[in-house]
Symmetry: D2
């Protein structure tokens, strides 16, 4: 009887979740980083990653590249949660505080702007207590197909 | 007789190279990414990385996080090549063209600005033919020690 | 009897407003740009500016420099609304849509991150109908005094 | 007899200079800021501006908006010096040191990347002694016309 009671909003959320589950299944990089998808709604996602020994840099803290990779994955999932394929065009990140071995990080992506061709997404990377460790802003563009844009 | 003929510039280059070799030896993340250090002079470095299957995203191309990680490593080595410890504070990256499996990438970091406390480094990520695939600009700050900065 | 009923929150808001009114009175640039201060609470401000003929570039639209100047002023007021003096260290801006002569723009600054030494503020620049025209992210740092930081 | 001896490079430089002179003549904002065009070659320009009293912020130093406006103008002229019309899509700026009243600033724009649709330009803003005061990186995109892009 579930389908009888599902609202349009529920449908949109279910579609977004399925789209990202499919994307994640093909995303070898996200899987190899140990990323988990926690929550998906159209335009917004929450994902998680735990810092492993092979992610530590010469200072013994998480390499900035892995913090970026987590945030960039959140961007990819958020901007593809509406159905039309988008790719990241660029991003900036601010590192607020070092992250140590074994810490579990949550990246929350929020849709700040979206048009037919472009989008801006802000991603906060926080620790288990909710303290922000990095802020990321990414831009995405509609994926051009060989037949046009 | 080597010490008789070494110029001050040769000495500075040798010191920079040793500093980065020591840093790389402790940089588990860079090693796990398969990064190689090609060239180090004070303020500038060139490093390389080859795209592996576990670096591919859902589009089958290199995940932006790994392009960033390569560029961020070049920033870390360039800004630490002068002896005083620095850490990345933030960065921006522009993705110019997709990068495929097996491609060998070269990241060249150039010192754009440097003061006692801050630095700006520009990193070009290019393919084997020298074509740029990404441009990165990173900011670093002097590492604060417990006793002050 | 006003002081008897004022809550601590009212006091903080009144202090923030006074701090920014004083700052604005000394801010010749903001005045020369025709900027008005609409609202100030600790960490957040809303200001406005109307595009004048001398702000138009060769395409006949508002020069990006003036959009940035509006957003940068919102950053300055937001990051100084808490009492401790801060200065802008850097910023990025995305231009979403052109802005024409006579349009009234509202810049809303929001505190995304704040520590004793640094802050990140996001500023949305919107038109009269609330449509975003630019998104700005600025970083500020505690103003160093001659006696130390 | 000049035309007989002009090389293709001389021609390209002369065309770029004419294109930017025409653009400047229509750029009310650049004129109102007192900007002067010093040098134009395809992809690169040098322009100057002197800090006026109406450009000073509440700290008595040049408002960041005017430093950005100078750099953004250099971006606009550099990216339009090749004939195809481009507009700024976004930019980032790092403020290195305060700039005082009466200082003459030089903005030098360099083409870092250029394709048919996009470009990246780096602009250094320096004082009269050549000391950098700000670094700017701007992105531009091909201007879309109503008939297509």
């Amino acid at each position: 009887m579930e389908t009888l009671t599902a609202s349009p909003i529920d449908d949109a959320v279910a579609r977004a979740r399925r789209a990202i589950d499919t994307m994640y299944a093909a995303d070898v990089a996200a899987q190899s980083l140990g990323i988990e998808v926690l929550e998906v709604v159209p335009g917004n996602v929450r994902i998680a990653m735990t810092v492993r020994p092979d992610m530590l840099n010469a200072h013994g803290i998480c390499h900035g590249g892995f913090l970026f990779a987590l945030a960039d994955t959140a961007l990819a999932y958020a901007c593809n949660s509406r159905g039309e394929p988008m790719v990241a065009a660029g991003a900036s990140i601010e590192f607020l505080a070092p992250v140590g071995l074994g810490e579990r990080l949550i990246a929350s992506a929020r849709e700040t702007s979206r048009s037919a061709r472009h989008g801006i997404y802000d991603v906060a990377v926080s620790d288990a207590s909710g303290e922000p460790r990095a802020h990321f802003r990414g831009r995405c563009a509609r994926l051009r197909t060989p037949s046009g844009s």
